[in-house]
């Protein structure tokens, strides 16, 4: 399924209501791993979310003379992220974990 940037708002609403599904795509910037490291230094921690709402955590490393976020932790898939959010919601905590 392909959903464009206009879906950002929809996803945002779903996030707020804590009912988004793993099928919901956010945006496709095609450069999130690079953008997240633009103002960082080599080996500095980085994190980005892809169009599937999966979370990638790692450190900035040099590729093609630019810094790119290289994941070194397991992908936090949207499904498990949602589960964590729902747990927090039930505990009256509005912060999304992961």
């Amino acid at each position: 399924m392909i959903i464009g940037k206009s879906s950002k708002h929809l996803v945002g609403i779903l996030l707020i209501s804590f009912t988004f599904s793993a099928q919901a795509h956010e945006s496709h910037t095609h450069s999130a791993p690079w953008q997240v490291c633009e103002s960082k230094k080599v080996t500095e921690a980085c994190e980005y979310t892809n169009g599937e709402m999966d979370i990638y955590k790692g450190t900035c490393q040099v590729f093609n003379s630019a810094l790119m976020c290289v994941r070194n932790q397991p992908i936090v898939h949207a499904e498990s992220s949602t589960e964590s959010t729902e747990k927090n919601v039930s505990g009256n905590t509005a912060t999304k974990v992961n």
Binding site: H30, V42, T43, N50, Q61, V62, F63, V70, R71, P74
Partner: protein, 329 residues
């Protein structure tokens, strides 16, 4: 420079190497996993199953720290020994299904490059300038000649090939079936740990056991800014005029791409060596789990395998983050 490309195309090489090649390893201010002598395993050349016109010899070499050492000189023919043909890459029409098309990646995800995907790139990227197909015939615009391939498969894409699906045929660069562009790589016989990690930058990462080079990150910004898709096949590989067929990700066991066996203990299987001599294993183990103790280069140590890397996901446009060991100059 430890890569010797035997195909000569000087001007184009400068352009393409800027995107997919070159080898200058710079030191990164970083501390990687502490590796003891017991954690270091020598390169096992018996794991390579190279094709015709390939060879592995032992040679003297100088490592990136300036020390003399012994390396394997691995010459590959540039065609995967475990396959008989490459592709498919670009879909031919907007109705082409996944089985007849290749792949594209975006922000860590590997997508089927179907005709539908091509037809919705404007939505996908939120830019109405995307139009890789003929509105009337529904045929996808593909670089289907050597001239078109070489004008489009480079960072400064020729304007006339904006809005093209880019693919190059390996037959443009080899007259022999089952062979591509020959290249030679030096890998230390026994890995030597660096005091701090070395950047990949534009360097190739390593060599797969099937004789295909693992390349640095594809310059997706350049590719997409010209409204082109540099289509991959199921193995996340594609052809360019200088590197020939090369990988930008690891995707084993899907479609036309052969699988990699897990290790006996269920650990992710090895599919190649990095240029510092440490093995590169698949991302997942037999249970579908990732390792949780990887260092910044995506390596870790265990009793069975010593220090080794685990490749990133197929859609992440990389294999490892940096070099833990010295590479050859």
């Amino acid at each position: 420079m430890n890569k010797v490309t035997t195909f000569a195309m000087p001007i184009l090489s400068v352009l393409i190497i800027a995107a997919c090649g070159g080898t200058v390893v710079e030191t990164v201010d970083d501390t990687t996993t502490s590796i003891t002598d017991d954690d270091v395993q020598a390169v096992d050349t018996s794991k390579f199953e190279l094709g015709t016109s390939s060879s592995i010899t032992e040679v003297s070499c100088t490592l990136s720290n300036g020390e003399s050492s012994t390396c394997y000189s691995i010459t590959i023919n540039g065609f995967p020994s475990d396959r008989t043909e490459l592709g498919p890459f670009c879909p031919t029409t907007t109705t082409t299904e996944a089985v007849d098309a290749g792949k594209w990646f975006d922000d860590g995800v590997l997508y089927d490059l179907t005709g539908e995907f091509i037809s919705k790139l404007d939505i996908f990227y939120g830019d109405s300038n995307w139009q890789l197909y003929d509105e009337n015939t529904k045929e996808v615009k593909i670089t289907d000649t050597q001239t078109a391939c070489e004008a489009a498969a480079r960072p400064d894409v020729s304007a006339e090939y904006n809005n093209y699906c880019v693919q190059c045929d390996i037959s443009y660069y080899s007259d022999t079936d089952g062979e591509g562009i020959s290249s030679t790589y030096l890998i230390p016989v026994t890995p030597v740990q660096r005091s701090s990690a070395g950047s990949v930058d534009r360097s190739s990462i390593g060599v797969a056991f099937n004789g295909v080079v693992l390349d640095a990150a594809a310059p997706t910004e350049d590719i997409l800014s010209a409204y082109t898709i540099a289509a991959f096949d199921d193995c996340v590989g594609h052809v360019n005029p200088t590197a020939g067929y090369h990988y930008h990700g690891a995707n084993h066991g899907e479609g036309t791409c052969p699988g990699v066996d897990f290790e006996e203990d269920g650990h992710g299987g090895a599919f190649g060596y990095a240029l510092d001599g440490y093995a590169i294993h698949t991302m997942l183990d037999e249970n579908g789990d990732e390792e949780s103790d990887l260092d910044t280069c995506r390596g870790h140590t265990d009793d069975e395998r010593g220090y080794h890397y685990h490749s990133a996901g197929a859609g992440e446009n990389l294999f490892i983050g940096c070099f833990t060991g010295e590479t050859a100059r």
